[in-house]
């Protein structure tokens, strides 16, 4: 599809931002795009698991079926050239390359090594490259960890808590749970000699499960960081709410927050979502998409070389990530003119009137962009997790305000 065809489809599916966001007025008012600092390479489209909530395979967008399973060498080499060009043009001091899929380890150990080596040789000397990989962990063995060491790749692993909860969702195609294989991989990463490549654990929140049991299970893997991810949902496909509890996700997260925040001694683990909310209530910025108003600085390169927005948008509608641009014809700056990208860079100006009337909007930031979608309107809405975010933020704010008052006095 050409970029014009893509834009026409986007205008129909999401009038805001594609038809009604006034980009010319933004520019006239002095808005400038933020340079991209993170590129996600979808090195392999397929996965060795079949998780029931996966936004790539189980939700609205099925574009993976038409793309090459593995990213051809020419595509990732061109993508790195484009990244280097972008780094030079914008004088970036650091960038991050995320190896992603599907399951990136299906790409092959030697090919990943070749790609990682090329990252360092392609970027200008003035720009530091941080390479990370997000994996389901099933194929993470000692030879792979040795390769991660050699090429300074840090790895994040997806785990959904205790074995029964994890295996309920994260299964092989034959229906077997993956917990045992992932636990074995995390045991390897937790060894002192491997901690340098251990990035952390990503866990999807599941109300109806025991939050403390989940957190304690994750702690047993001794991760340097944990992030809790709200399942992708939107106003047309709202999240499951067991028992009709309107703030089930907040209640789950607050239980973990209190456990983590009050532990003595304090646990040596960062929890990204909580630390982002804490920084935001102190007036600083957020480093993740789930909260806050920081501009998005990431781009996804699919295995066929297409440039796409963050692939969580695949949960909204078919083609929601598409830009119509690609690594063969377009530099990274071209993506910065896409209304969908602009919408995720303009902070408070992307918020709906409902959000602007809410006293929490600078902290919440309407949550994850994908969670604002409503058919026929687009993304100019509060998050479908609005009540959960408000409850979590108010809880953290109250707790920190009391503790800071104590510190000052």
């Amino acid at each position: 599809m050409t970029s014009d065809t893509v834009r026409a489809a986007q205008r129909a599916a999401a009038p805001w931002p594609y038809a009604t966001l006034d980009v010319a007025a933004l520019r006239a008012a002095g808005w400038q795009p933020t340079a991209l600092r993170e590129v996600v390479l979808k090195v392999h489209q397929r996965c060795n698991l079949a998780c029931d909530y996966c936004y790539v395979y189980e939700l609205a967008d099925q574009s993976w079926k038409t793309r090459p399973a593995a990213m051809p060498d020419q595509v990732w080499r061109l993508a790195l050239d484009r990244l280097a060009e972008h780094a030079r043009r914008h004088e970036l001091r650091s960038v991050r390359v995320v190896l992603h899929g599907g399951e990136p380890l299906l790409f092959g150990r030697e090919r990943l090594a070749e790609l990682a080596a090329a990252v360092h040789t392609t970027l200008p000397d003035t720009c530091r490259a941080d390479i990370v990989m997000q994996t389901n962990g099933v194929r993470l063995d000692l030879p792979t960890i040795d390769m991660l060491h050699r090429h300074r790749i840090r790895v994040g692993v997806s785990v959904d808590g205790v074995q029964a909860d994890h295996d309920r969702h994260r299964r092989t195609r034959s229906g077997r749970g993956s917990f045992a294989a992932v636990a074995a991989a995390l045991e390897l990463l937790g060894r002192p000699e491997n901690r340098r490549v251990y990035g952390g654990i990503l866990c999807t929140v599941a109300p109806g499960t025991d939050p403390i049991a989940c957190y304690e299970q994750l702690l047993k893997f001794e991760p340097p960081a944990i992030d809790f991810l709200l399942p992708h949902a939107n106003w047309d496909q709202p999240p499951a709410r067991p028992g009709g509890n309107e703030t089930a996700y907040a209640d789950w997260l607050i239980a973990v927050f209190d456990h983590w925040y009050t532990a003595d001694p304090a646990p040596d683990v960062q929890i990204r979502l909580f630390e982002d909310v804490m920084r935001l209530v102190f007036g600083a910025g957020s480093s993740s998409e789930q909260v806050g108003l920081s501009p998005s600085g990431m781009l996804v390169v699919e295995s066929d070389g297409s440039y796409e927005q963050v692939d969580a948008l695949k949960s909204a509608y078919e083609g929601a990530c598409a830009t119509g641009l690609d690594v063969w014809h377009d530099d990274f700056d071209a993506v910065l003119a896409d209304p969908g990208m602009i919408a995720r860079q303009i902070g408070v100006r992307a918020l709906s009137p409902t959000c602007l009337r809410c006293p929490l909007h600078q902290v919440c930031g309407a949550g994850h962009y994908a969670h604002r979608y409503r058919r026929g309107e687009g993304f100019h809405n509060p998050s479908v997790y609005c009540a959960d975010l408000a409850k979590l933020i108010n809880h953290v704010h109250t707790r920190l305000a009391a503790d800071v008052r104590r510190l000052v006095s």
Binding site: R154, F282, S288, S294, L360, H361
Partner: protein, 65 residues
């Protein structure tokens, strides 16, 4: 400089009062070195000096290196 400074965003009447830590001595933050709260406050201070500004990043969890 012996206190953490933050931009005043509390002036917006539609915002919750962001927690003012501008009067908090750095010594008090450093004294609580192992505390979750202290770690967060140090992150706030570090973000003031970030030359590129904070961006919202991809949701692959990897601790800051």
């Amino acid at each position: 400089m012996d206190t953490a400074s933050l931009p005043d965003q509390g002036a917006d009447p539609l915002s919750i009062p962001l927690i003012d830590v501008s009067e908090l001595p750095l010594a008090a933050i450093n004294a609580a070195a192992s505390d979750v709260l202290a770690r967060s406050l140090r992150q706030v201070i570090a973000s003031i000096d970030d030359p590129n500004g904070v961006i919202s990043a991809f949701q692959s969890v990897v601790a800051d290196g």
